[in-house]
Amino acid sequence: MTSSTITIQEMQELLIHSVKKSTANVFSTMLGLDVEAGIAITNSGSQGPTDGVLSLIGLTGPWMGTGSISCSPQIACKISSALLLTEFGAVDEEVLDAIGEITNMVIGNVKTMLEEKVGSMGLSIPTVIFGRNFLTKCGGSNGWTVVPFQFDSETLLVQVCLIQNDAGKQGTVGRLHRSGTDHE
């Protein structure tokens, strides 16, 4: 299957499968933690307002857009503590770096799985934000594929929005879905 033959629906399903597999693998291998995926949804438009830690990484190629991980400061500290075997009580530069690297691994492995279907893609360096009451929007796209994961009774979100580089052919992933549409 090549980029020209993959449909938006197939991309949607591929994204959900890839995010679930990649996140479980990274958390298991690097953190020694099992995470359980919840029901994936597609959200249209902007995300938020959001509080906490948000890590963003760009994807380029035949499909381009953004991948992200968002979670509470407490979850960010717990992930960093598990990754670095050091106790973190508050979000600091080390925590932001750790969350950025986890994002790099999760979305990087999603990218590798997507490449089997759509061809070579590129990955940017992650940017991590810690703050309150911010909105996010992926430029040029209407849809985020959102996969929630349960972590210590809180929710961590792994999200990807992609638009086909040749937008005239098939449009964006999200355009075929209403806000909050459930998958699986």
Partner: protein, 124 residues
């Protein structure tokens, strides 16, 4: 015999993890140097004797592939084993690194056993 190692990654977290993993993998470590990108790594090589390099690929300023090119083009450094560690898992990227002279390729996420296994064929 102790091995002086250079770890190149823009993430301080990964540099710290790799140090820990090398100890877990029972690598006889000497000095461990760290660099945040390819430029810092080449500067480190100018000033220190290094027996093994671990490097990420996606880094700012100079990426791991360009750094590998520079190392393998330098008569003083070209015999230093370089193991690439990256989320870049595509066969094309692995082949590119190997064709440029990388001695190994480990995909993130990684375990201590994977690092140990990779090093078994590189260091005696």
């Amino acid at each position: 015999m102790a091995l002086d190692v250079l770890i190149v990654d823009d993430s301080a977290a990964i540099r710290k993890i790799l140090r820990r993993v090398l100890i877990q993998a029972e690598v006889p470590l000497g000095d461990v140097y760290e660099a945040g990108d390819g430029i810092e790594a080449l500067e480190c090589l100018k000033n220190n004797s290094v027996g093994l390099i671990f490097s990420d690929i996606n880094m700012p300023n100079m990426d791991g592939i360009q750094m590998l090119r520079e190392i393998k083009a330098n008569d003083l450094w070209k015999s230093i084993p370089v193991v690439m560690i990256s989320t870049e898992g595509s066969q094309a990227k692995v082949m590119e690194a190997v064709s440029l002279g990388a001695n190994g390729y480990v995909r993130k996420p990684f375990t201590a056993d994977q690092i140990k296994e990779k090093l078994a064929g590189i260091i005696q």
